[in-house]
């Protein structure tokens, strides 16, 4: 085991958000005096990660995952708290620290737009002062792994989103970092690209023992890659443990979206599941997965349904349900 590669203790980050007053009079007042309120983006987050682990930060949008990740990368100063990454204090950003990790952000480009990826890679080599032989070997292995050997000579702007992401990942691994930080890496990608990237990352972790930390609000990413999950919501860490402990909870509930022929009222539907919303002829309700089939057939018997869909409920709902409110599931009567 040895030393943890990341240790965070009581990390917190507060922001002042300036309030804009509406209208002309407000704008004039704003010229003279400004009002603000304090927002706690990250609140006393503590955890430690061993080398070689693959860990996910899971949580709804705006929960504080990206902020925490950026603090570990040294991009943001925490308001309070301590952290050690690779043996360094990240926000001091020593050169040696920066050489040993990488940060990749979904839908954000760091490659040169008009040039082929191979040129960006060469530039990368210059910036990190990589030995030519080692660099060429690493590059060859990576392009092989991600399956993009023929695409490196094409200008980056001509590549698809998935291909671009692969190039970004290759660039981030060229200097053989010990730690890879990923912020929403598969966001906006089609399923095929997602799966390929997940596979490549998993292989790379197994071959090299590179520690990977990724943030996501998709369960699928997490299930494919990370045995361990940290759930963050409203800036607080509410769960730190094996994925298996919560997949059951997360997968237990499904969201039904129903389009009826006639208008329905909330009371009519309450017996079938937890009603999220009713608007005219459209309703959304939450049902236990095991009961989806029987609930649907009961509804079809009782009502005329024009359209329906069964989906995973939004993450915030599930987290709220599973952790904060601790509701027992609705038993259909």
């Amino acid at each position: 085991m040895g030393m943890p590669i990341i240790e965070a203790e009581g990390l917190s980050k507060n922001y002042r958000v300036f309030q804009k007053n509406p209208g002309l009079w407000g704008a004039l007042r704003g010229l003279v005096r400004r009002e603000y309120k304090e927002v706690k983006a990250v609140d006393q987050v503590s955890f430690s990660i061993e080398p070689g682990e693959m860990v996910a930060f899971l949580g709804p949008n705006g929960a504080g995952k990206t902020t925490t990740l950026k603090m570990l990368a040294g991009l943001i100063y925490p308001s309070t708290g301590k952290a050690q990454v690779l043996g360094y204090i990240p926000w001091n950003r020593p050169d040696a620290f920066r050489r040993q990790f990488s940060l990749v952000m979904g839908q954000k480009n760091q490659l040169w737009w008009d040039l082929p990826a191979s040129d960006s890679f060469q530039l990368h080599r210059e910036i990190y002062s990589l030995d030519l032989a080692a660099f060429t070997k690493t590059l060859g292995e990576l392009t092989e792994l991600f399956g993009v050997k023929e695409l490196t000579r094409q200008p980056v702007r001509e590549l698809s989103l998935g291909e671009r992401m692969k190039m970004e990942l290759i660039a981030s691994l060229l200097h053989q970092p010990r730690l890879l930080l990923l912020d929403e890496p598969t966001i906006g990608l089609d399923v095929v690209a997602q799966v390929t990237i997940q596979k490549c990352l998993r292989e790379y972790n197994q071959q090299r023992g590179v520690t990977m930390l990724l943030t996501s609000h998709y369960m699928r990413d997490v299930e494919a890659l990370c045995p361990r999950v940290l759930v963050i919501t409203h800036g607080k860490l509410i769960y730190d443990g094996p994925l298996a402990g919560i997949t059951e909870q997360f997968n237990r509930i499904k969201s039904l979206r129903l389009h009826f022929a006639d208008e329905v009222a909330e009371q009519d539907l309450a017996r079938y599941g937890q009603v999220d919303s009713v608007a005219g002829t459209v309703a959304e309700l939450k049902v236990e997965r095991a009961r989806v089939a029987e609930t649907l057939s009961a509804l079809i018997d009782r009502f005329t349904i024009v359209d329906m869909s069964v989906q995973d409920p939004p993450l915030d709902h599930v987290i709220a349900q599973v952790f904060e409110e601790g509701h027992a599931n609705h038993e259909p009567k």
């Binding site: 002309l24 704008a27 704003g30």
Partner: protein, 301 residues
């Protein structure tokens, strides 16, 4: 060497505001709707300018400091020359001229107009004018006019302060007849400036790249319209030649009218010539538009 100010950079730096808005839905447009819409534009651009308060204060400061160096430079030139007048301008008149040119440009500069037209042609948004009961040039003129009103009213206070501080350079207010001529020359300058840039925008029907051409034209324009110094300062036949072109009306001519250097018959002749140029450019723009549309439909959108 006074280089052009950001507001003169035309397509290079957009200061006047947005280029072309999405037009109104396809219903008949009443006058009150137009008035209300433009009042909203005016009010929201006022708020917008105030929200970026640093920007607002900065804009005010920006108009003043360079004038100091301009005044000092010309002071040094006049002192070095040992003469009272250069090309018929005293030192005071020279500074007054350079200040007045700013006013002329407020009316005649059209940042983003040509670029906007060319872009609409290139990316196909031109179609919206063809489908709806809207004449593109008419619509753009109305929009530009409203925006100019907003811009000019907003700039009133800073300019008034500037002119007040520099009042020693002005020989006094021109008499009512001349002032009327001045106002007319400014209004006509709007049309000359607008339709000239519109013509350039129309080139987008035949050529893909208008921006480069526009840069070149704007650069030349800066010089030939008299923004750097009065055209009369040039040697030989150049002043006469340049005064045959419409560009003098964009900066030089109105300034001279205000200074009282063009009086009586000459003033009326000058205004008529300006009117003639405005009409020529209006016709040219419309002709180019029609020709361009024919080509556009022939090639599909």
């Amino acid at each position: 060497m006074p280089i052009m100010s950001p507001s003169d950079a035309g397509a290079l730096v957009l200061r006047d505001g947005p280029v072309v808005p999405s037009p109104l839905p396809a219903t008949t447009i009443t006058l009150s709707q137009i008035v209300r819409k433009y009042f909203r534009i005016f009010r929201s651009s006022l708020i917008e300018r105030m929200v970026y308060r640093g920007d607002f204060l900065l804009g005010t400061l920006l108009r003043f400091l360079p004038m100091i160096t301009t005044i000092l430079l010309w002071q040094a030139v006049y002192k070095g020359s040992g003469k009272e007048e250069l090309a018929g301008f005293t030192f005071q008149q020279m500074i007054a001229y350079l200040l007045l040119v700013h006013i002329s440009r407020m009316f005649s500069s059209m940042p983003g107009l040509a670029v906007g037209i060319a872009r609409d042609i290139r990316d196909g948004s031109l179609k919206k004018y063809l489908v709806q009961p809207l004449h593109m040039l008419g619509y753009l003129t109305a929009y530009r006019m409203a925006h100019k009103v907003a811009y000019i009213s907003m700039s009133c206070v800073p300019y008034a302060i500037l002119f007040f501080l520099c009042r020693q350079f002005f020989g006094g207010f021109p008499d009512p007849a001349v002032f009327l001529g001045y106002v007319i020359s400014l209004l006509l300058a709007f049309f000359v400036g607008f339709y000239f840039e519109a013509c350039i925008g129309m080139i987008g029907f035949w050529f893909l790249e208008v921006t480069s051409f526009l840069y070149v034209i704007n650069t030349l324009n800066f010089f030939i319209s008299g923004q750097m110094f009065p055209i009369d300062l040039l040697p030989g036949v150049w002043p006469t030649l340049l005064k045959l072109l419409p560009f003098q009306y964009l900066a030089y001519f109105p300034a001279l009218v205000f200074l009282g250097k063009i009086q009586g018959m000459a003033l009326i002749q000058g205004l008529l010539a300006e009117l003639a140029w405005a009409l020529i450019l209006v016709v040219l723009a419309n002709v180019l538009y029609r020709l361009g549309l024919r080509r556009y439909s022939a090639f599909g959108g």
